[in-house]
Amino acid sequence: MPRLAYSFPEEVLEHVFSFIECDKDRGSISLVCKSWYEIEAWCRRRVFVGNCYAVSPATVVKRFPKVRSVAIKGKPHFADFNLVPEGWGAYVFPWIKAMAAAYPWLQEIRLKRMVITDECLELIAKSFKNFSVLVLTSCEGFTTDGLAAITANCRNLRELELRESEVEDICGHWLSHFPDSYTSLVSLNISCLGNEVNLSALERLVSRCTNLQTLRLNRAVPLEKLANLLRGAPQLVELGTGTYSTEMRPEVFANLAEAFSGCKQLKSLSGFWDVLPSYLPALYPVCSSLTSLNLSYATIQSSDLIKLVSQCESLQRLWVLDYIEDAGLEVIAASCKDLRELRVFPSDPFGLEPNVALTEQGLVSVSEGCTKLQSVLYFCRQMSNAALDTIARNRPNMTRFRLCIIEPRAPDYLTREPLDAGFGAIVEHCKDLRRLSLSGLLSDRVFEYIGTYGKKLEMLSVAFAGDTDLGLHHVLSGCDNLRKLEIRDCPFGDKALLANAAKLETMRSLWMSSCLVSYGACKLLGLKLPRLNVEVIDERGPPDSRPDSSPVEKLYIYRTVSGPRLDMPGYVWRMEDDSALRVS
């Protein structure tokens, strides 16, 4: 058989490869033969680094010399809930430095849970002449001065998105640094900024950037200013309001309603801080075409929420507070037939008693009425196996299911039994489930179900669950596609980890905190698996000062091709592998 693979000129292969965008496929292509590896590397334009410590910047720029777009993730997911102490790491500077030298034509940087300083932002502004996209999600470490460097220098900037990042707000004038001649903005998200930006600069910017599609304002933008902004950008597709209340004045209302009706392309709404319900009808003209609605900061009653949501017949994504209540969810089940994603957040997460009439019934209603529902995040205070079973049978097409029953270890409220069977039903019926978060009273049995049925599961979050190591063993041995596992406050110890050590190299990362994994076991894992970084996080002091049998506070294990990281803070210890011993 002729060896066709070798007879294609490089340019042809490059052209063919350019149609392959998925990273996994790109990886497969590169394994075919040496020349394909080289050609693929030469023409790869996008790189996604799921764990910034899994590979070094130097390795990436060396293998892929022509990258235009980079996405990097840093801290473990549980950092969102304050489980990762300050100063842990995920500094992006080494990446920016390496890319500044290697990728003068870099256009896009997307970061999640990383630390980015003003120095980094200045380096970006200086080094990449064609820089056009900066998206910072859950990042920290920078100030508005750094943003000013970006707006002043990046002539081709198209997207600037600060999503839920911690920005030190020094001065609102950073936005004014866009020169008057600058008109290429397509997307601006400043929703997480605390202070005011210069409103007149914003108005001028919005009206001269005729390609603007996404505008997410911060809370400091008053409602009276919204109508003007909308008039300046009637082509907007995505809008995040600022504060959504002011004195009830008929002319302000009329002005706003008119401005909204002028936005014929509007598909997504968010913001809605401090909502005054009387102003919600101004949105009615756009409701029927909305596909995404984020009301998760709108502290308004069920009846007002219902009036709004019942008009949004095209809704695909809805984020809302539990003020929606079961009654509201029933209305959604009847009105929003295209719903794919539902997130219900708790309005009073630390209260001991329920403050709203939201129970498992709301979720059951939606699972019945919304046949396209795939992704669920639901906070509630009671759940039953029966309800979970119903939900599972209603929606076998579910791919992401995250349930948070607020009280840890809460049993089935009807039978007082563990919720093993309920979650078991979820993994059994939802065969394409990729992400699952557990809560409530759970024994080892639920993990047996997960290991048996959760074959497509990629990410699992566990808290206050399980009885013995058998639980963890079921998951590690059964879930063939598991990439990320995060566990807190579970009685899992050494046995399961050590028995499934090799599994850890097939995963991106494992997080365990307040469990029963001993220091000795960590040392052993580190020793035997050199391609893992086994990092013990312990704020009590050096683990050596305690017996080997003593459980560690927190443990973060991740695979890497770059060996130990060099920026560990004082409370993180990496367990040595025996390669160090061999050298000496």
């Binding site: 839920e164 209340s245 008929p250 209260g351 403050n355 807190r488």
Partner: protein, 236 residues
């Protein structure tokens, strides 16, 4: 609605809060042990900034303590439990945002209000008067909804709440006043009869001594209408 609303009831009729679960106030519990000052603070804020129509002792200008105190307003409520770190899994950004916003139902918990502000409400043509506690509402809208429920069996044509909404819309005001619809008016501290809705909500609550729901025609006769129109026009 009909006659249920006009039945003799011991509870506070037409009040949305009685139909709902009594809202547990999270962070606002920290304010409850300091009630008098909370109310006084509100008045001070009014003079220094543009007031909103939503009365709220925990508005943005107060620094909000992040933890609950262990002194609930209602001694029957259990003290707050020690919070587990990172549970429930709500991001700090979201927690902080919710903490500084006005919470639903805070003001409608009449247990917490030390000085209920009961005023008589009369409606032209109705056989008897009602009383409402203005402190139970956060906005004109809530009051108008409530009045609408209370007096719905007596109105002809538009129900009261729609009438209130319409009167807020300048262009419909004359239509309203010319029709048989009703106009809410109130007697203020100075003894003057004013049109409801001109001043910020909190100011209204403080100065209102009694409410009278007048027939539209009578309101014109009293010269309320031109004043109301002028006031609306002045506010730009």
């Amino acid at each position: 609605m009909g006659f249920e609303e006009t039945e003799l009831r011991l509870g506070l009729p037409g009040n949305a809060a009685t139909e709902e679960v009594v809202r547990k106030r999270g962070f606002s519990e920290t304010e409850t042990h300091d009630h008098e000052t909370a109310t006084v603070d509100l008045m001070l804020n009014l003079s220094s900034k543009e007031p909103t129509t939503v009365a709220d002792p925990t508005d943005k200008h107060n620094t909000l303590p992040k933890e609950k105190t262990l002194l609930p307003a209602d001694p029957a409520k259990p003290p707050a439990k020690a919070q587990v770190v990172g549970w429930p899994p709500v991001r700090s950004f979201r927690k902080n945002m919710l903490a500084v916003q006005k919470s639903v139902g805070e003001e409608s918990e009449k247990n917490s209000s030390p000085n209920p502000s009961f005023v008589k409400v009369s409606m032209d043509g109705a056989p008897y008067l009602r009383k409402v506690d203005l402190k139970m509402y956060k906005s004109y809208r809530e009051l108008s909804d409530s009045l609408g429920n209370m007096f719905s069996s007596f109105t002809i044509g538009n129900c009261e709440s729609q009438g209130m909404k319409d009167f807020m819309n300048e262009s419909k005001l004359m239509d309203l006043l010319n029709s048989s619809d009703y106009v809410p008016t109130y007697e203020d501290k100075d003894g003057d009869w004013m049109l409801v809705g001109d001043v910020p909500w909190e100011m209204f609550v403080e100065s209102c001594k009694r409410l009278r729901i007048m027939k539209g025609k009578e309101a014109i006769g009293l010269g309320l209408a031109p004043r109301a129109m002028a006031k609306s026009k002045n506010r730009s």
